[in-house]
Symmetry: C2
Subunit: 143 residues, 2 copies
Amino acid sequence: MESSVPSGCADAKSCERQLTECGIRPTPQRVRIASLLLSQPQHLSAEQILATLRAAGARVSKATVYNTLNLFADHGLIRLLCVDGTRAWFDSNVGPHYHFHCLSTGALIDVPVPEVAFSRLPAAPPGTEVAGIDLVIRLRKKM
Amino acid sequence: MESSVPSGCADAKSCERQLTECGIRPTPQRVRIASLLLSQPQHLSAEQILATLRAAGARVSKATVYNTLNLFADHGLIRLLCVDGTRAWFDSNVGPHYHFHCLSTGALIDVPVPEVAFSRLPAAPPGTEVAGIDLVIRLRKKM
DNA sequence: TTCCTTGCAAAACTTTTGCATTAAA
DNA sequence: TTTAATGCAAAAGTTTTGCAAGGAA
């Protein structure tokens, strides 16, 4: 039988396990942030995470949210996206994929890898190697 | 015979003409910024532009640099890039192209269109249309 | 005169940092 | 006991804005 998990929240115990496996000490704040972010593939800003946690009654500081998000990103638990210049977005989907970005609404939508294929890519310049490919397909609302 | 232009600077007269054609009044500050940026394909930050102009003895304020860059971008004269989260980069190459971004050095290098080919791209979600495609190939120094 | 542009300073925002306090190993 | 994590406030950095002054049409 499937274990049930509160909506919008991954199981705290499994998050604890995941953090420990990454060598990250599972403090209460970190587990809460992980539970929120890793519950499903999504894109959240630091401010959104802070507001959501506080609305839920958690005691967390802004500094801890930023520290934790950077820590998670360094360990490959989440991915930091630079899509618009206004702020960072943290993506809980760390598998390879691309993005739609709607210029009209700001919406950010995942594009699965199989939906994109490159028939030609440039070689990395001498002395360098490719570390990753970020593809953002900008959208606008059709009139 | 070719007309000669100071290195790192497009001809002021031709910049004036270009601004006028776009419906932008060619004020001294705008012409200086255009001359600097449009002299060649390059990526500059607002702060770099401000520092360069002031070092050259120009009287320009930070607000004017930002206002002007946003104005140019709105008119399609330059392109605003979001490559890292730290600041905006203004690209004088407005033709279609992509970018290498070296994570080790921060360098930003143009990738011409013919070096990339997509054999498969997703359809835009209902009600939207594709406004553009941003491709950033992240590099790291090879050891 | 009227409208637009500029410069300056201040404000607005996001993110980082210093440091005392608290909690955990 | 020793190390690491947290909260708070302040700092740092980029970009925007308000407003008075200046310049062009």
